[in-house]
Symmetry: C2
Subunit: 346 residues, 2 copies
DNA sequence: CTGAAAGCGCTAACAT
DNA sequence: ATGTTAGCGCTTTCAG
């Protein structure tokens, strides 16, 4: 397709700087064996000419690849959009290019994307999004990735623990605990959970946090309705419908992410159920619109943009002895969608 | 079980199939000049061995690049996230990889990104987002891109007209007209506009639509306050502050995109100004959260996801004689943020 | 410290 | 129809 790029090659820079190809290469790669003086001259000339190495030639010749592959569920999901924004932000600074693909929360498709990225010789692969409770798929992904890592590829994951790679781990359990404790503190006891697919690690972890908070108040998950639907807005709507129909006395709904919470709020609005007067609602993630919803959403803030950056930072460092883990921290953000439990004591 | 073997080269496949390198290359590329029989044998051997071509070698040697570069303002802006989602969706189907970079709405940075993408030998470049009213920057971008296109690169743009490339053109003017006519129809006359930077084509076009609707009602843009701030949420907030302070009798605010509209709504909420009772608000784009805001936002729907797909479709077709243009259509979505003008007859 | 030269794996002219 | 060969632009020995 595209034949000539800028047509500017390393050899041109070399000539212009009055040095050989090899020296120019060394200078720009910051390798040993060039005097500071010459190296600086070369770098300056390269700069002036706006030289950018041809990554294909570079990689083919055995150099490092400068593209990072990023796999997300969907970029047009705000959670992943923010993560992607973080990755791209740091990548820009490092002059790296980011290739984004969608996993669609389908383990098979995700595996295909990983393979594709490897075949394209991405030097770094970042996988964002929940792992699956699907041992076979996970094992295969792990096998492929560990082969890739053995070959020098760097991998970082966001929000999954079982992949033998450096990981950014969102505070899912602690966050689930925080948000549940908040509700319990407001006096709510008839709480329902709008959860995503039960096979997603994220769902499992957040549920664990919910469960532990309940336990501290002498309750158990078994006491409350947990509705598993899709981990997206529409799932929140249908979950709410079910909760309303089957457990009308519910006073609070925990949505396991903000997308679902938006669906929950929408359905409550349609049904004319006041929030938080008759029903409190909490979400999880604090996507940027959470503050603008009707009413503004109480949720757990996860630093998505930073998470993206952190993942790339991890991947940029040389591999350690074992997988590194980097927790994200979290913050309970109380807004207008939660209030005291209505007094329905008798 | 075929496993993509690094170290497995085309020459190995060729030997194994008892043909020459060139023949194997032709067979796998589906090019002319190989008997069906031989071609099939080669393909089968390649399959058995799990051969995957090295894209770097392929591209370096002048083959087609399978990556498409996408430049957006920011992926974590919902408007661009949806466009990106559309591009990636189609790219996935075509087994293409998408490289995303941020322009940050800075002409200089955008130009740098274009150059970077070209240097990376992206076969296709898609630029989403408004052009700038900056002749020098635009001219330079056009020059670089036309060189790229002359070399066989394909370019498609979304929402800018002055780049000599195939374009997807959002119905900015018609949409601006529609939304303004809606307000006028509700009896509003004291209308203010919260606009983005005056140099953005998108802003200019949408304003033109606003102006034409006003004209039909015997009004003119000069009659109303137009506040230019940043084309993002925060800009909507500050614009609203100014409008409230300087034109307290305003009954409706036109925000030139949904992000700004969100800021407008937020500020009105803070000030305790009822929407739509005391103030109507309209946005533009219909990002997916527009329906979930407080109150839900009246806006103009643009098919962002399709726009992304269309752009890639255009780029995938061979270049035409001249630049193709593809309008998007639009749809006025009336929700709860607009109502009749309050009766302040004096 | 620097330069010359040998590939990396593939495509595409050029031969046969 | 098939084979031979010259690069693509870079990194990396290996000489000097």
């Amino acid at each position: 397709m595209p034949k000539p790029g800028p047509g500017l090659r390393l050899i041109d820079v070399a000539h212009r700087a009055g040095v050989s190809l090899a020296t120019a290469s060394r200078a720009l790669a910051g390798r040993e064996g060039v005097s500071e003086e010459v190296a600086n001259r070369v770098r300056q000339v390269a700069d002036e000419l706006g030289y950018v190495a041809n990554p294909f030639a570079r990689t083919l010749a055995g150099g490092a690849s400068t593209t990072v592959g990023l796999i997300v569920h969907q970029v047009d999901d705000p959670y992943f959009a923010e993560i992607a924004g973080g990755v791209i932000g740091l990548a820009d600074e490092q002059r790296l290019l980011v290739q984004i693909c969608h996993s669609g929360r389908d383990p098979g498709h995700e595996l295909r994307q990983i393979r594709h990225l490897i075949a394209q010789r991405a030097g770094i692969i970042i996988i964002a999004g929940s792992g699956y409770d699907d041992p076979r798929a996970e094992a295969e992904a792990e096998a492929v990735l560990s082969g890739y890592q053995r070959g020098g590829g760097r991998v970082a994951v966001i929000g999954r623990h079982a992949l033998g790679a450096d990981a950014v781990l969102p505070d899912n359990e602690a966050g689930g605990h925080a948000v549940t404790a908040h509700l319990l503190g407001l006096g709510h006891r008839r709480i329902a959970v709008a959860a995503g697919a039960p096979g997603l690690n994220t769902v499992i972890d957040r549920m664990a946090g919910v469960a532990s908070a309940l336990r501290e108040h002498g309750l158990s998950l078994d006491d409350l309705p947990v509705v598993h639907t899709d981990f997206v807005r529409e799932g929140g709507r249908t979950a709410t419908e079910r909760i309303l129909a089957e457990h009308p006395s519910t006073t609070a709904i925990i949505a396991l992410n903000d997308a679902m919470a938006m669906g929950v709020l929408a359905m409550l609005r349609e049904r004319g159920i006041g929030v938080p007067t008759r029903m409190s609602v909490v979400g999880f993630d604090d996507v940027s619109v959470a503050a603008d919803l009707a009413p503004s959403l109480t949720t757990v803030r996860l630093p998505m943009i930073d998470m993206g950056r952190m993942a790339l930072e991890l991947a940029l460092e040389p591999a350690g002895a074992g997988p590194r883990r980097r927790p994200t921290g979290h913050q309970l953000i109380v807004r207008d969608s939660t209030g005291p439990a209505p007094d329905q004591s008798r």
